[in-house]
């Protein structure tokens, strides 16, 4: 029987190890920071160039954070962690220890949450510097980001456990699945300029609702009532995504054991 003390110790050990590894991979860390920062600066330049578009900058900043930065960092990062464990053969090693699957899962979630927090601070520092304004409540914005990170981590476990056996495959899978989702999620263009058919398809894209929810709070100062539908959608998706992630991880552990 696992005591809560042991479980918590294992969770922290996993989270600390992941953060330490991330810190040691300096090149990866630079790209991790440069990608969203460059996007923010480029969008800032584009929007600032045209006075009529200046108002859209607040929404663009929110979209870049939720739709691009956290997507690649949390979903891609989680999938890469799983793929690396498989590649290095450390997963069977972990299976010989008393590490509880829940502690591992939670450890990854905590590490990704911390990385997401750093990314939020970094991105919004740049955004505020170039004139972006945050209009809504901090609690609601934080809740949406939290649900988004959980959803991405769940999807990351699914991708890493089911499809990506090697780190290179994570990059390919992320590009193939991620970019269409980003476009259909309204990260780069507003939904309104898309054809009717695409708009209908976009409605089932969870990223659209993450984007709309966070944009609603950050750029338009909306509250709980106005975002009820997006928040409900996001909450349900978050639960499903985490369940899928846990199930995929358990499936992977079973497969590794019977190798």
């Amino acid at each position: 029987m696992h005591t809560s003390h042991l479980l918590w110790g294992q969770t922290l050990a996993v989270a600390q190890r992941l953060l330490l590894e991330q810190w040691r991979q300096k090149r990866g860390l630079i790209f991790w920071a440069v990608f969203p920062s460059m996007m923010m600066l480029l969008f800032g330049l584009v929007y600032a160039h045209n006075d009529s578009m200046r108002a859209g900058l607040d929404a663009a900043a929110a979209g870049i954070l939720v739709g691009a930065a956290l997507f690649f960092s949390c979903l891609g990062g989680t999938a890469a962690v799983i793929a690396a464990e498989r590649e290095r053969g450390t997963l069977p090693r972990l299976l010989t220890t008393p590490l509880h699957p829940a502690a591992y899962f939670l450890g990854v979630v905590i590490a990704q949450l911390l990385l997401a927090l750093i990314q939020v601070v970094m991105l919004y520092s740049i955004a505020l510097f170039i004139g972006v304004q945050y209009h809504g409540g901090l609690f609601l914005g934080g809740l949406i980001l939290l649900l988004s990170v959980f959803s991405y981590v769940g999807m990351g476990f699914f991708l890493g456990a089911r499809f990506a056996r090697r780190s290179e495959e994570v990059v390919v899978a992320l590009s193939a699945i991620g970019v269409p989702l980003l476009v259909l999620g309204g990260t780069f263009f507003p939904l309104e300029i898309m054809p009717q058919g695409m708009q209908a398809v976009a409605q089932i894209n969870p990223m659209l609702h993450m984007n709309q929810a966070f944009k609603g709070v950050a750029a338009y100062g909306m509250g709980f009532d106005e975002l009820r539908f997006e928040l409900t959608f996001l909450f349900v998706f978050c639960v499903l995504s985490l369940a899928l992630g846990i199930q995929s991880y358990q499936h992977l552990l079973g497969a590794e054991k019977s190798k």
């Binding site: 922290l12 330490l20 590894e21 040691r24 290095r88 090693r93 590490l99 054991k257």
Partner: protein
């Protein structure tokens, strides 16, 4: 005394393949037991069952007197596994790897610091304290791997071909370390394809074939089961003549991988053997005392019985 490991008549099927067919083994505290056998005989399956990576279909396994299936996660704290593949985190330092695994086993901070310092010293890793594991040579990585498998002070150390992937020098180093562990009373279950490794390290050897043990005992006990005290490896242009002469002399003849091996009832010099085989067109001959390799060939039945 309670056995560290007691395996009774276990069976394992993988699909239609009967991988373990009534396998039994007892490992006493402080013993180093070697599990030897050809590829596919079920050695790794046994180790995977002991490490709870695989279930078994019938029989009983006990660790420290408790049924393995009732120990659940606690079983993992009783066993330490070191395989030939170094499953470590290459971006972490040696002590960081040790600390990480120690935390998974629930060692307190004080105990962890003490244990990591002790293992870093014992395995000579202090000189590489600031080197990331991915930059260590294969031999040093395997040293660390062995240290990691001991970090929680397991009751049973399982070594699955621990020196298979390292060079000769590193192998000798690891042998010395394992001997040190043996001499300090660590209970070890080891598989290896290096019979010299098993002969050097093990207090008892179990020979496996087709999912069960066919012979077991200390190395001298196994050697005593060979019908000879020395073995002469002979090359000749007339094998028939050699066999005929050996039969006349009362020597046992075995053939393995096309090579003729004569089991001599007592140690004979090279000159005496050549003289005894005079007229049989011998082209090369060498002689040495019987080793575990001869016992393996004799008892696992890989060599063809000629006479």
């Amino acid at each position: 005394m309670t056995a560290v490991l007691q395996i009774d008549d276990i069976h394992k099927w993988l699909g239609s393949q009967h991988v373990l067919d009534g396998f039994s083994l007892r490992v006493e505290p402080g013993e180093v037991v070697g599990l030897l056998g050809p590829n596919g005989c079920g050695k790794s399956t046994v180790l995977n069952i002991v490490c709870k990576l695989l279930s078994y279909d019938a029989g009983q396994v006990q660790l420290m007197g408790e049924p393995l299936n009732k120990l659940n996660y606690r079983a993992r704290g009783l066993v330490g596994l070191c395989t030939q593949h170094c499953a470590l985190y290459p971006d972490l330092l040696p002590a960081e790897n040790l600390h990480f695994f120690a935390r998974l086993y629930g060692l307190s901070e004080k105990d962890r610091n003490q244990r990591v310092t002790e293992l870093m010293h014992r395995f000579g890793l202090e000189n590489f304290a600031a080197t990331r594991v991915g930059r260590l040579s294969g031999g040093w990585q395997q040293r660390l791997h062995l240290a990691v498998s001991l970090v929680h002070r397991p009751k049973l150390l399982v070594l699955d071909e621990p020196t298979a992937a390292v060079d000769l020098e590193a192998r000798m180093d690891l042998w010395r370390l394992i001997e040190g562990l043996r001499d300090s009373g660590t209970t070890i279950l080891l598989t290896s394809h290096h019979l010299a490794e098993a002969q050097r390290l093990c207090s008892r050897v179990a020979l496996m074939r087709s999912g069960k043990i066919v012979a077991q005992g200390s190395v001298p006990e196994l050697l005593a089961r060979i019908p000879g005290q020395a073995v002469a490896k002979v090359e000749s242009k007339n094998n028939e003549a050699i066999m005929q002469r050996a039969l006349e002399l009362g020597w046992t003849v075995r053939q393995h991988a096309g090579q003729m091996r004569l089991l001599l009832p007592h140690d004979l010099g090279l000159r005496e053997i050549v003289d005894a085989l005079d007229g049989t067109r011998v082209t090369a001959v060498s002689v040495q005392p019987v080793t575990l390799e001869d016992a393996y060939l004799e008892l696992v039945g890989d060599s063809a019985l000629v006479a």
